[in-house]
Structure formats: structure tokens, C-alpha cells
Amino acid sequence: MMEKQSFAEDCRALAAELGGGQTRRDLIRSALALGIAPAALALGGGAARAQAGKEVVLVNFGGVAMKAFDEAYVKPFAAQGGKIVLDGSGALNGKILTMVQSRHVTWDICDAGITTLAELGPHGALEKIDYSIVDKTKLDPTFAYDEGVVNYMFSSVLAWDKSKISGEPTLADFFDTKKYPGRRMMRKDSQAMLEFALLADGVPKDKLYPLDVKRAFAKIATIKKDLLFWNSGSESQSLMRDGECVMGLLWHTRANVLADETQGRVTYTFKDGLLQPGLWVVPKGNPAGKEAMRAIASMQQPEGQVKLLAAMGNGPSNPAADALVPAELKKKNPSDAANAAVQAKINADWYKANHSKTFQSFLDLISS
């Protein structure tokens, strides 16, 4: 809660809060995945490892995501003769880098994001995605990068409290405390927040990049005293639910839950949101080698992705999944064609070159 959380990490927390909780079996299973599987891999050594080369260790943030991933990805891959072992310990940038640098890599695929590309790419800690195995026609090519490939989609969106805001506010209104007085909240990260500031300042959706950081900072500074910054998804949810903020920029998954639990008092729009990919990345020197790429390719099947949407709210990355999404889920799906059309898309190249220093300056701005 006090630590800054990634979207992938929040998926697990959210699913847990929604009532799934961790059953005893889940616990045992994750304990198995956490401890025994990597240990077995590590101890196996030469011949045994060659045999177990089929086993792909996939790291997510644990909890209920274990069950959802199991249904959506592990079982379909098993049906194709492969084997994925889930590890719920969470692949933070620092952890991946430690593993790669100590040449003791036990992870094959990590549930990560754009900032992982940006921070770890320059360290040479990621394998190139093999697009002769991973199918580029089964995804939006915008989100297929050299060292990472989209696994699901999520959005950062504008939500507001209808009991305090009349009408449908725009991003410009978010930065206009005269028109709508009251506190607002943002994520404690420059990612997506700079885009929102620029959109509010009149930059067109398709001309956001390269981001004019100075202009975005200046815009944010105009309402700094009315801003709160959230670290974790659950924090963003409680700040809106408890009426601490009249408007907020947060993840669509949390916004969906807020809309449900407040019976529509808090609502949101995908309009002028920012569509972002969750990424699979493969640590350099991963134990399963190319088998990891085959696992990624298997996870491109639309059926599993729709299951993940139903379980956790993550949008399918394969456009073919659109046709399979039930009507009531469509309006909650960030990558639904209609929703995607009104959003801006994040540009990873810009983040690779600029994220580290921009994020630091962003922290400096909000803490000064």
C-alpha cells in the first residue's frame, strides 16, 4: 500500500478484494510455485534441465491472479503439450536485474510494463522477443516491441464523483479548480499523468509524443496544492469512495469497481484516456530458452484473454477477441474498438529514452 504499485501488481490486489480471496489450495499452489518449482529448476542442473526445458516459469504478482492466469493461460498451453509454472512473487525491475546480473535466472516470462522496457532495456537484461514464434498479426503492432510484447491492455482514465461534480467533466476541467473546486488525485508516476496534462492543455491525442515535459509539469503545477498522489490501486479506489477527491486519474479496473460499489456515484470515461499495454518480458538467459516464446504465442489465443477480462478486467490484446467479448463486458473493456478509438496510445520509444529522468523530476516536482 505504501509502495508504488504497478498495474500488474494491482490486478492481484483488486481480484483479492473482489471476494475471491486466497483459498488454502491457492496458497499451497503458490507456495509450490514460489519455492519448490524454482528450487527444482535450480537443482536440476544439466541433463534434468534439458528435459525440463519444456517448463516455463511465468511470474506475476500472485494471489487471485494465479487462478485467473491458470484458467486463461496455463491450461490452454498444457493442452498444446507445453507447461507453464506460475510464480507469484512479483517481477520488479530491481529483482529482474539482480537475477540477470548474478547469472542465476529462474524466471522465463514476467508480467511487466513499459517502464520495465525503459529501465532494463539499457542494462541488456531482456531477451529479444522472437516474432517468428510470437504472432504479430494477433496483436496491435503498436505494442510489439523488441524486448517486450503486449499481453493485455489497460487504461488510465478520468473518474469523478457525481455528487460533487455536475455534468461530464473534461480533462481541462480536471486542471480547472475554479470551475470545479475540490481535491483531485493522480498516480504518483509521470507515466500517463504527463499525457493527461498535455491533453488538458490542448495537445491533440495523436501529437502527444515526444512529450513536452516542461509544459506538462507547468500544467500540473497550476493545481499542485489541490492534488493528492496515490501509490496503489486500492488507495486510488478508497480516496474516491470516501469522498476525499472530487475527480481522479486512475486505472480503469479500479474505476469499474468504484462505479459498481458506489452505485454510480463515482463514474468514469474512456474518452481522452491513455491506453497502455501490460507486457511480457523475458529476462536475459532465461532457463527455458525459446520455449518461453512458444508459451507467449500460446497466450495470444483470444479465448484465454476473454477469460482474463472477465476475471480481472484486463483488456484482450488480440483484436480477434473483440468478437468473443459478451456485450455487458464491452463497455468495461479498455481495448474494445469503440473505447480504444477515443483514447490516446502510449508510446514506448519515448519512455525508453526518457522515463527514468522524467519520473525523478516528477517526484521532485510533487515533493517540492
Binding site: 505504501m2 520488479l92 530491481g94 504518483k188 498522489f229 469522498g243 519520473f359 517526484l363 515533493s367
Partner: protein, 293 residues
């Protein structure tokens, strides 16, 4: 007498008749070795990174002088730690004074009140403050219902909130050293001062207060050191706007992977704390302060 026998005897002599100091050293050697291998060495490795990552040299330390970001964060850390220490000491002194002068029965209940918060997780406490201090929280609702204020006070999501949470956390750490010092003050000194014609205030100001100062100094350094490394409370109650050194280091390690900068800051923190502890050990009896004596 042959040479081998001679050396065997001297070996036996070494183990049996070595000075007591050597034997003590041998006894704690396994523990020291353990500490050395699993604690000192890894920490040394980490701190060494501050000189070698990303390039060899003092570049990371140069940032202390050149980076406005780091300077501001250090200043925030110092400011909050000093203010927390001052407020904690003021409150802790009052509580310790009351404790010392309470009857044994009352004292037991008061102690319970001081110690119970120590056993409650810092996270839980931060959330409790959130319930009390937020816009529509208990305190603001009460103040507005009784007409003391018209609009809710900003008690949380700023440095005020951070300070409230931190002072609350630090209070037992302030109260206990001051109390243990006050308990040892000979109450007859006060009686003597009064007998010689001092007013109550004078007796306190010129006799009791100076006698209690070692406890205050000890408590202040203890509280200050804890405050320096505080992480959870500023992150939760500061609304994301209060960036202190612990969080800064975490960001450097886990997110932007600038390990050299992180280990440089860790080294700085370690040095500052080491210097403070050294100063403290000259002023007061550390063993007693930490409850060993």
C-alpha cells in the same frame, strides 16, 4: 623431551591457560563470523557499489553537492525528523513526568497506554489516523458540527499529517528513556530545594530539569534516528508529496535502477546515524538507554 611433544604441550597450554579475554573471544567467534559473513560483508558489498556503479569514482557522492533533487529530499528528511523529535520530546516529557509522579496502580495503567501502541502495526496506525483526520473524518466532522470551523481542516495529505502520525509512533520511544532517567532522580533533591525556599517552578527548573536532561538527550537522538529512516507513515499520510530518504532510496533501487545513487544515500544515512550514536554514547549510558543496564 622431543620437539613434537613440546609443541603438543604448548597447544594444550594455549587452550587451557589462555587469558580469559582470549576465551571470551573464542566463545563469541562463531557469532562474529556469522555476522561478518552474512551481515557485514553483504552490506559492505552494497555500500561499495556507491563507488563503482555506474562508473568507478566519487560521482555518486558528488550528487550531494550538485543534485537539487537530492538536496531537497535531504532537507525534507532533516526538517521532518527535527520537528518530529521536538514535538515528541515535549509530549514525552510531560507524560514521563506524570508517570514518575503517579501512584503505582495508576502507573501500571499508564504504562499499558504507552506500550500498547508499540505492538500495533505502523500500517494499522496510519489507517486509523486516516479515519480520524480525513476530510469527512471524525475530527473534522466534530469540529464542523460544533461550529469551531466552517470548512474541514487539512490535517492529512500534508506534512501536518505526516508529523501527527510520526509523533504518535515515536512517543513510546521518547517516553521510556526519559522515564527511566526521571525514576532515578532522587526526589529528596526537590524536597531539599523546596526546603531552602525555592518555589515549585524554581525547584523544577533549576533542579529536576537539569537532572533529567541525560534522558532527554538520549530520547532525542533515539527518536531522531528512527525518524530519519521512516518510510510507511510519510508515504501514507503525506498524500504522496512528502518524499523522505527511505522512499527515495527505494525508488532508486526498485524502479529507476540507479543502484549507485541508492547505495550512496544508504551510506550517508548509515554514517549520519553512526556519528549520532557515537555522540550519544559519550553523553549517556547506551546500555541503560536500550534497557540492558
Amino acid at each position: 623431551m622431543t620437539a613434537p611433544a613440546d609443541s603438543a604441550r604448548s597447544r594444550a597450554g594455549l587452550s587451557l591457560f589462555a587469558s580469559p579475554a582470549t576465551r571470551y573471544w573464542l566463545l563469541i567467534a562463531p557469532a562474529l563470523l556469522l555476522m561478518g559473513v552474512f551481515y557485514i560483508y553483504p552490506i559492505g558489498r552494497v555500500l561499495w557499489m556507491s563507488f563503482t556503479v555506474p562508473t568507478t569514482g566519487l560521482d555518486n557522492y558528488e550528487l550531494l553537492a550538485s543534485s537539487a533533487s537530492i538536496q531537497r529530499m535531504l532537507w525534507t528528511t532533516a526538517r521532518i525528523s527535527v520537528l518530529t523529535t521536538i514535538f515528541t520530546l515535549l509530549l514525552a516529557y510531560v507524560v514521563a513526568y506524570a508517570l514518575v509522579h503517579a501512584s503505582p496502580k495508576v502507573q501500571r495503567w499508564m504504562f499499558l497506554g504507552v506500550l500498547v501502541p508499540l505492538w500495533i502495526s505502523v500500517l494499522v496506525r496510519a489507517f486509523a489516523w486516516f479515519v480520524l483526520l480525513r476530510r469527512e473524518g471524525l475530527i473534522n466532522s466534530a469540529l464542523m458540527a460544533t461550529g469551531v470551523t466552517d470548512s474541514p481542516l487539512s490535517l492529512i495529505w500534508n506534512e501536518t499529517g505526516v508529523m501527527i502520525g510520526m509523533v504518535h509512533y515515536m512517543l513510546p520511544l521518547g517516553i521510556l528513556p526519559i522515564f527511566s532517567n526521571m525514576r532515578d532522580i532522587d526526589q529528596r533533591c526537590i524536597a531539599a530545594a523546596r526546603g531552602l525556599g525555592a518555589s515549585r517552578f524554581e525547584a523544577f527548573w533549576r533542579v529536576f530539569l537539569p537532572l533529567s536532561l541525560p534522558g532527554v538527550v538520549g530520547a532525542s537522538i533515539l527518536v531522531f534516528i528512527f525518524s530519519l529512516g521512516f518510510f510507511v507513515t510519510p508515504a501514507l499520510l503525506g498524500g504522496g508529496k512528502t518524499l523522505m530518504i527511505a522512499e527515495y532510496i527505494k525508488v532508486q533501487i526498485l524502479e529507476v535502477v540507479r543502484w549507485g545513487v541508492a547505495s550512496m544515500l544508504a551510506a550517508v544515512l548509515l554514517i549520519v546515524i553512526g556519528v549520532l550514536l557515537a555522540a550519544l554514547s559519550r553523553l549517556v549510558n547506551l546500555r541503560k538507554l536500550f534497557g540492558a543496564g
